[in-house]
Symmetry: C2
Subunit: 426 residues, 2 copies
């Protein structure tokens, strides 16, 4: 049976301000665990973009779960079937829990291609239509530890009709039942966990129905879909999530898809989300930017020292340049525009800025290079710029999640929230 | 005075088959050395393309000399002047000898822009015209250990008139005298070495005159310019080099610019060249290819085992595909086309090839990944492909130079030559 081994141990649950705990017994041998709230390691075709495993390992406290997506993998099905040893070995991954999702949260997905029996994913070679049978055949080839079941998620655009939303919930439940049946009849998938997908667009009753029905099935956890950045305002998102999580069992993890901005992460944690997809650092890197927001709330100067300089600096820089940086809500459809949590190193003002990206950051990039050198690498189009930015952005984002867990443990989520939201208004 | 410290100790000189030795007392403190025949570490804006220093250090036996080029640096002069600590620190380089050349051998340079008093380099922002004064000001800012003097190298196109070639030799000598004068009057450049540049196009007498005259100046070594791949046939190149090196003192190194193909390297070593610019692996990487030629000549199976499988394989693959791979001579103007020493991993036939790039290669890429995974990374445009290819290509090329020195030491250059040329005819 699916969903029988993964175990969520919550050490702290405060209504309206999040859950703190550890997701235990992950992986085939059950030796991995993941602290929540936490984020998965986002990959593109099995690699954290641009980084070798060796380079990645120089970062401490990486999440034990790596996310790969069927949209990257589906077109390689034949090759993987011939390879036989699963995607983990194909991509040279070792010692990580493999989670397989349907779509890549960092890449927008065209709508209009689902039917009663199929969903579509987009690879580099175009659209691939998946039936439940093909979807499950792919899972057998990929050999993940954990995958999301097939889902019709085409309801995230505002203005989707109630009828369409209802259909999406029905279809997604039907897909889940089919997936679970195939799963239970498959020897290859023994010990692999299934996450059910909660749909329902922006309609509260459908969200609640989707959550309640999914929770009746033998799933290991829940993916909350259709709530991604750009789909709705944060207030509505929080309201929907809070309503859904009330329907879900306490002891199973909730993974929110498509949300990565620090301010949104904080609000969603308060609403009861445990896990996030870690695609945000990749997006920031792709636009040549560096995460540079403060999240230090400790009164211990040694701990606090890591982040505050970045905060002050960022505020200063914005002022100096007369920049008006909005948060994404002002342009909800565009996930790819710069947020107020980052600095654009292609900007001329960094050409003679000899400071590290973030004063006190211990990542390889900040220890060895200055902003001016990164600016020059970006301007002359040298790929090392992306490599160095990816190192820093991954380190910074993971440190933010550590700070978030610390804040939860010490009843200081409010302080952290004020600090992070300050970045947006400064 | 320039050129007083670097020391070339030759352990073996065989007329017509190369010089073996060590270039000693390199760097400000004289603690570095470089085996010859050897190649420099080619960089783009101070980085071996796409690799962090950490990743680079996973390769053993890297050359102690890093080459940077004024074409990358000139446009950053103001920033470097403000930075004050030289280009080595600006680029986060440590513990390496810095050699500064005029042009980037991996990038073609437009002609028609030299005057009696100036040469031009092309950066990402366009053309920058250098007088000797600006050239020397740049050297003071870059703070290399060793640089090539300013030179008029616009005679490499076949059909350049004798008059133009003579003018280029005269100008280059005049530039050298001016550079040396400015150098000797500069405190900042104390202890820095100057290489004189030998020009002369494809005209034997001018080559000899340029060599003879340059050798009269107090230079530490010689750059042989205008002989790059694409400029002439190998037989003519070898003849010109042999004639020039006869005019040059035995105890100073000769660096050949713009030649990197293994077959051409071997011929030029025989003609008396000591050093090469290491840009060839970068070019191979940029076209998505992997070096995969054999150079194992040892009868010790453990040593030989490293390379032979690659040879057999390459021959097999060419046959199987009916590919006709020419060496560059058949299209001499095009430096960027694939050579017969590499395989094109974007080719469909690698999509289910689960072998490493080169059987037995110990580089990070070959130990951890298969050709099929690299194919997929390339096809989906993931930058990690370039990172991994650059690791392998650098390791393979450096191993080739080690094999070349071993062959020279053991009187087996002929065997190596046959082995390498076999790659071209198979």
């Amino acid at each position: 049976m699916a969903g029988c081994r993964m175990k969520l141990e919550l050490s702290r649950v405060v209504q309206g301000s999040g859950r703190l705990g550890v997701l235990k017994d992950l992986g085939k041998t059950g030796q991995h665990s993941l602290e929540v709230p936490g984020c998965l390691l986002h990959t593109h075709l099995g690699t954290v973009p641009h980084l070798t495993r060796d380079t990645l390992q120089t970062l401490s406290n990486l999440p034990a779960v790596t996310q790969v997506t069927l949209s990257n993998i589906a077109e390689h099905q034949e090759v993987l079937e011939e390879f036989k040893d699963g995607f983990r070995r194909f991509a040279g991954l070792h010692n990580t829990v493999l989670y397989c999702s349907l779509h890549d949260p960092a890449t927008p997905c065209p709508t209009g291609y689902t039917t009663n029996k199929t969903v579509s994913v987009w690879g580099s070679g175009g659209r691939i239509e998946l039936t439940v049978a093909r979807f499950m055949a792919l899972q057998k080839t990929v050999q993940p530890d954990w995958y999301q079941s097939m889902a019709d998620g085409e309801t995230w655009q505002s203005g989707t009709s109630r009828k369409r939303v209802r259909k999406s919930v029905d279809r997604t439940l039907a897909h889940l039942d089919e997936c679970l049946l195939a799963h239970q009849n498959s020897q290859e998938l023994e010990g692999v966990e299934v996450f059910g997908v909660v749909e329902g667009g922006d309609i509260l009753e459908e969200r609640v129905r989707s959550g309640r029905e999914t929770a009746k099935r033998p799933v290991a956890g829940f993916c909350l879909d259709g709530l991604q950045t750009g789909s709705m305002h944060q207030a509505l998102r929080t309201q929907l999530i809070a309503a859904v999580t009330e329907e879900l069992p306490e002891d199973k993890p909730r993974l929110l898809q498509g949300v990565g901005r620090p301010d949104e992460v904080l609000a969603c944690v308060e609403a009861g989300v445990d896990l996030f997809e870690g695609f945000f650092p990749s997006q920031v890197t792709e636009r040549g930017c560096a995460l540079c927001f403060g999240f230090g709330i400790s009164s211990d100067p040694e701990l606090a020292g890591r982040a505050p300089p970045a905060v002050l600096e960022l505020a200063e820089e914005k002022e100096a340049s007369g920049e008006t940086q909005h948060n994404g809500d002002s342009n909800p459809a565009d996930q790819s525009r710069m947020t107020s949590f980052e600095i654009d190193l292609k900007d001329k003002r960094y050409k003679d800025d000899f400071r590290p990206l973030v004063e006190g950051c211990g990542c390889y990039c900040c220890v060895n290079h200055q902003r001016a050198y990164l600016h020059h690498l970006l301007v002359t189009n040298e790929l090392l710029a992306r490599v160095l930015l990816m190192i820093h952005n991954t380190a910074h984002y993971q440190a933010f999640f550590r700070a978030l867990r610390e804040a939860l443990a010490n009843d200081k989520l409010d302080v952290l929230k004020r600090r992070v939201l300050k970045e947006m208004t400064d």
